[in-house]
Amino acid sequence: MPLSAYLTLAAVLFAVGFFGVVTRRNTVGILLGIELMLNAVNINLVAFARYNADIVGMLFTSFTIPITVAEVALGLAIVILMFRMKRTAVADHLDILKG
């Protein structure tokens, strides 16, 4: 397979994730969209590393994956906290920063 096939796959995946982030109203749903986008980026990183025969590029991905996991854990902790305070998970209702 040419490299462009992998990059196209990642581009489509990124667009789908972006669509999810834009249209979802539930905060957990938005987080899932962000997951898809990060996943697409990881495919890109690994594909470029493989087609340039550069193993250090793959190492970069093994750093981004745990960082993503930490991000999800904290994001969900914030979601649970917002649930406790506001009893809602809909992003539009989380407007306590509004003056």
Partner: protein, 164 residues
């Protein structure tokens, strides 16, 4: 058609199809399960790129860790609210237009770029080399990652602590 072409297209269909299911399903819980399928398919893509270690990391951390955390969060928040989490999407047309524009921009850029066609041969054992550079050249970022995970753990505990 050789085997790797068939494998790539099969995996691509699984990954994209389940990704679409993630963003379109009404039930949030089903959404998470589709995400698990999508992430597992991505591990297969990594395998087709000779990154066995990353495929394992993907399965353990993403498909194992992330999905478990999200399911936990959904169970906890459902208990707090007391009704099932259904999610409605809004402004679907705007989303399609924005995502479509993004996709078109990305694909136009890809068409103009000069990209390698063949996978070059890697003579060494990828996993072995990854382990070696992780413990020599990149040991500082590796340790920083450990600190980040600790901070993330403490931060999540702090946020989610019971109210006193």
């Amino acid at each position: 058609m050789t085997l790797d072409v068939v494998a790539f297209w099969g995996l691509a269909v699984v990954v994209i199809g389940s990704a679409l299911a993630v963003v379109l399903t009404k039930n949030l819980f089903h959404s998470v399960l589709w995400l698990a399928l999508s992430l597992t398919g991505t591990a297969g893509i990594f395998l087709s790129l000779d990154a066995e270690f990353l495929a394992a990391v993907q399965l353990l951390l993403y498909a194992g860790g992330v999905i478990t955390i999200v399911v936990f969060a959904i169970v906890v928040t459902e208990r707090l609210v007391g009704d099932r989490l259904t999610q409605v999407s809004r402004r679907l047309l705007t989303g399609v237009i924005l995502a479509g524009a993004l996709l078109v921009a990305l694909l136009r850029f890809l068409r103009g770029a000069e990209l390698p066609v063949e996978q070059p041969v890697i003579a060494v054992d990828v996993t072995r080399v990854l382990g070696q550079v992780l413990m020599t050249e990149f040991v500082l970022p590796f340790e920083l990652l450990a600190v980040l995970l600790l901070v993330g753990l403490l931060g999540a505990l702090y946020f989610a602590r019971p109210e006193d």
